[in-house]
């Protein structure tokens, strides 16, 4: 079955006489470094046909961006590029920069991850688009270029394009900047668009908007698209074909349907199973992909994935398997020695990775279902001041505007929302344990506003925090034992007891206690986050506040940390306040969910209710924007795309503050709209969730919920 080597480019060309738009042959990229050369890309072959949508997926450091920058000729001059890159049959390597510049933008264009640094801050958006046009068409007049720039802005969905063309990049929001980048990219009708993580820096609702614009741009120009991403969900819904990269090579490629339905490289299988998935999360336990990618500076012989692969056999350690065709489909190939066994079903996909055992009932902690945290109408407003010496207030930022929720012992509340909705401010207010501006915070039955300094310090034992970025939250100058033991020093625990307790919690989070004398920089990202969790657990707290604890980690590492958090909760009877923007992760771990929008909770209830049957139009839009790593589901879904961006919290929107973006508001009759504009909706029980919407009963007028 697996016989043809795709590696041989000559054979490939004979088989497919039609010319590919882009063909990358045996590409290698090496960066010389003082400590020895690092080969970031080691023999990559792929091709893109006219009008095709190719997704390249990989974790950080897998070489996916380097290989695409090589296509654009944008690598630093120190990089050594081998192999060949053919665009429309002509080699792109060893061309002069002037030659390449003619091609860039005209033939191939690129969209970068960070649109703020990709746009020049001192020119208007319109001027930058016009510049792209004038560069490649010398006959075009300045006036015509400006008119065309406005047209392009209209195409990518920027409201009021005439005025917006005069704006500078800093006046645009992240989503609008990325739209402008797409406008520049399609300005000259390129034949190929390379999008390098175009949505990674954006919120999920904006991501849905941008992906839609990208699809539209593709249809308008007929260009082929190469989308580079780490998110399998984004690929599933958009790409035709997919290439998975690992350690500088493509390890699996095929049509999206084929790869998602029947992945045949253990890495792809592991990646798909370790990803929290909105469609399946909450019912099944995640399967972690242990270990971390190998270092590209000194690769051992054999398959680079061998160390993490549970299906490893001796032959894997000696030679690196080439990309081998699976079945009769020439597009479908995988780099695994055991691919025949996997394809024939001898080695079952579901059984390659051991599913982690749930916590044994004997080890589970008994918890009384009492409230451990109750927050009522918490408010935090920041004055917006102007003037250097004589400050005067010009506005109010309503970061948190009347938030109420409660957490029961042993349960998890997931607090979700887009960035800027006030979820971080909410937890910072709670963690300060100080008297809030307005409202009440009760922890363990004690109102924090009435605490004395001594009582407050004692209460801190019960509430601990885990931060988002594990590197920033650990003091680089202290060894791990001092970092983890620090909360105990506050409560006067002797040095000897402290060390013992530190060893205990390190063991609990799955770290070797003998590593306690090392410094944080010696650990990998996942291990560092475990250290952060150990520090939070060292005082035996009742509540742990988790501030986006997995969003800074690579996909394959996330699953391990999420499983650990779930196990710890069951063993120790912890309560979690879990703040995240990734809804799939929240679905996986939370018992109850509260959805925040502009400083308010718009819907709250049990996780099952909210995810299965959301009532608030915002919740519904948010859920429909989350990509699911399953092409079949992705195609059958109808997305609710929200218009525009999150309004600034300084704006004073009368009535319901979601009505400016609400898809339901537009469907309402005049009387209904008037009610939204004048009355501020109070949370009320609809179905079995608390919803702050006047028309929640009519939510089904919009597209139905997920599956």
């Amino acid at each position: 079955m697996t016989n043809t080597l795709i590696n041989s480019a000559a054979a490939h060309r004979e088989r497919t006489p039609a010319q590919h738009l882009l063909e990358v042959r045996d590409l290698t990229v090496t960066f010389p470094q003082p400590s020895g050369a690092v080969t970031a890309v080691r023999g990559v072959n792929y091709h893109v046909d006219k009008g095709e949508f190719l997704g390249i997926v990989g974790e950080s450091g897998s070489g996916k961006s380097v290989s695409s920058l090589a296509v654009m000729g944008l690598l630093p001059s120190s990089a050594k590029v081998g192999g060949d890159i053919l665009f429309e049959g002509k080699s792109l390597l060893n061309r002069s920069d002037k030659d390449m510049s003619k091609l860039r933008g005209d033939g191939i264009s690129i969209i970068f991850q960070d649109p703020l640094s990709a746009l020049t801050p001192v020119y208007t958006i319109g001027a930058q688009i016009a510049e792209a046009l004038l560069l490649h068409d010398s006959k075009l007049s300045q006036l015509a270029a400006n008119t065309r720039a406005v047209e392009l802005l209209k195409v990518v969905g920027i409201p009021n394009p005439e005025r917006r063309a005069q704006a500078f990049p800093h006046e645009f929001s992240g989503g609008m900047r990325q739209r402008a980048m797409i406008a520049i990219a399609i300005a000259n009708n390129p034949r190929l668009i390379i999008a390098d993580e175009p949505t990674t820096a954006l919120d999920v609702t904006i991501q849905a908007q941008i992906l839609e614009v990208l699809q539209k741009a593709k249809e308008l120009t007929g260009a082929a698209v190469v989308l580079i991403t780490h998110d399998l969900g984004v690929v599933a819904g958009n790409a035709d074909r997919l290439a998975v990269m690992y350690a500088g090579r493509i390890v699996e490629t095929g049509t999206v349907d084929e790869v998602f339905r029947a992945p045949s490289m253990p890495y792809t299988i592991g990646l798909l199973r370790s990803m929290p998935n909105l469609a399946t999360a909450g019912h099944t336990r995640l399967v972690p992909l242990e270990g971390r990618p190998p270092l590209l500076s000194n690769l051992a012989p054999g398959c680079p994935f061998a160390d993490r692969c549970p299906a490893v056999i001796d032959a894997c350690r000696t030679t690196e398997p080439p990309l081998m065709q699976i079945g009769d489909d020439p597009l479908n190939a995988s780099a695994c020695i055991r691919v025949a066994e996997i394809a024939s079903g001898e080695l079952k996909r579901g059984e390659i990775y051991p599913v982690p055992e749930p916590v044994a009932p004997a080890e589970r902690a008994d918890v009384e279902p009492e409230n451990v945290m109750a927050v009522t109408t918490l408010k935090r407003h920041f004055p917006l001041t102007k003037g250097a010496i004589f400050k005067h207030t010009v506005g109010i930022v309503r970061a948190v505007d009347g938030v109420s929720f409660e957490i029961k012992a042993g349960q998890t509340l997931g607090l979700v929302g887009e960035s800027g909705c006030g979820k971080s401010t909410t937890i910072m207010e709670i963690l300060e344990l100080a008297k809030p501006q307005a409202g009440q915070v009760i922890i363990n039955g004690r109102d924090v506003a009435t605490l004395s300094a001594k009582e407050r310090r004692a209460l801190r034992q019960d509430i601990q925090v885990v931060f988002q970025d594990p590197m920033a939250s650990l003091d680089p100058r202290l060894p791990v034992q001092d970092i983890v033991g620090e909360p105990l020093t506050v409560h006067g625990v002797s040095a000897k007891d402290r060390l013992k307790k530190v060893a205990d919690v390190l063991e609990l989070v799955g770290l070797d206690p003998s590593m306690a004398s090392r410094y944080p920089h010696e650990f990998s990202g996942g291990q560092r986050q475990r250290i952060g969790i150990a520090r939070a657990l060292v005082t035996d707290p009742k509540i742990v506040v988790l501030d986006e604890p997995v969003s800074a980690l690579d996909v394959s590492i996330q699953a391990g940390v999420i499983n650990l958090l779930q196990d710890l909760q069951e063993k120790l009877g912890l309560s979690y306040l879990f703040v995240a923007h990734d809804l799939a992760v929240v679905r996986q771990i939370a018992d109850n969910v509260a959805v925040m929008y502009l400083g308010r909770i718009v819907e709250s209830g049990s996780a099952e209710q909210i995810f299965e049957n959301p009532q608030h139009p915002y919740t519904r839009a948010l859920l429909s924007a989350v990509p699911v790593p399953d092409p079949a589901i992705e195609r059958s879904r109808t997305r609710i795309i929200l218009d525009g961006d999150l309004p600034s919290p300084t704006e004073n929107i009368s009535g319901c503050n979601f009505r400016t973006r609400c898809p339901l508001y537009r469907l309402m009759d005049e009387a209904g709209q008037k009610r939204c504009a004048t009355d501020d909706p109070e949370p009320r029980l609809v179905g079995s969730t608390l919803v702050a919407c006047h028309h929640a009963e009519n939510t089904d007028l919009m597209a139905p919920a997920l599956t």
Binding site: F31, Q33, G61, S62, Q468, R477, V490
Partner: protein, 308 residues
Amino acid sequence: MSMLDEASVADVTAGTPEVIKSKKPVSRFRLISSRLRSTPRFWVGFIGLAVISLWAIFGLAPNAWNYTDLDVRNMGASPSGLHWFGTSDIGEDIYAQTIVGLRKSLIIGLIVGPLAAIIAGIIGAVAGYIGGWWDRAIVWVIDLLLVLPSLFIFILLSQVLKSKSWVALIFLLSGFGWMIMARVIRAQTKSLRERDFIKAARFMGVDTWTIIRRHVLPNVSSLLIIDATLGIGGAILSETTLSFFGFGIQAPDVSLGTLLSAGQGAAATRPWLFIFPAAILVFTVLSASLVGDALRDAVDPTSGVNRD
């Protein structure tokens, strides 16, 4: 660009497995010291300082004269076997005087440099960490001290200090040498305060002073060490300047500054009175600066030679 991120990720992790496997972790200290050892400037400065210090300690032993002795038969003599650096108009042995002056200057430099750095560290960290009115008051004081010409204040205060011993000069010099560094430390602390590990400590209930001591100061320590080293040379120069004008070290004590002042009139006619103390002053300050410079390059990967 993300490509560069990816490349640097590979770079950062390079060499970590060996580190994880080895018993002793490579600490930052070892990294810096290995970088220091490969800088020639550091060795020149370090050996220079060591030689000067050893000479200051033991240099008087082989000499037959003490610095207060007057040789009435050889007044104003040029360098000879009897008086290695010659004698002054009243028959003082210049070699003995230079060594004693050097001792005083070195002591002042070695104390004032680090003392000013410590003051800068504490005040800067407090202003940056606590913020609010404390910060505003401290910045106001710093700015005030920076605008006042310090030489003018030295001259005013020296009237009071004349009666006190030279130790008072140490405090005076460190009292006017910390302001610029304090501002740097304050800015550093302000950015540190927003880092998650400091927030984490605060939410654990760690009190302000412990956070400053345990988290803030160690994280700005590299700056302080550099400042202390570079400050040695600066302090020696300040002391010399003051003494040269007669506002620093007072007779019967001697320092390099008073020697230079006494010898300046004879610099053209009897150069040994002037040249020996001056050469030693230049050599000492240069050595201290070389060490400080090398230290900064070793600690701060973005400064000077490390940039291409």
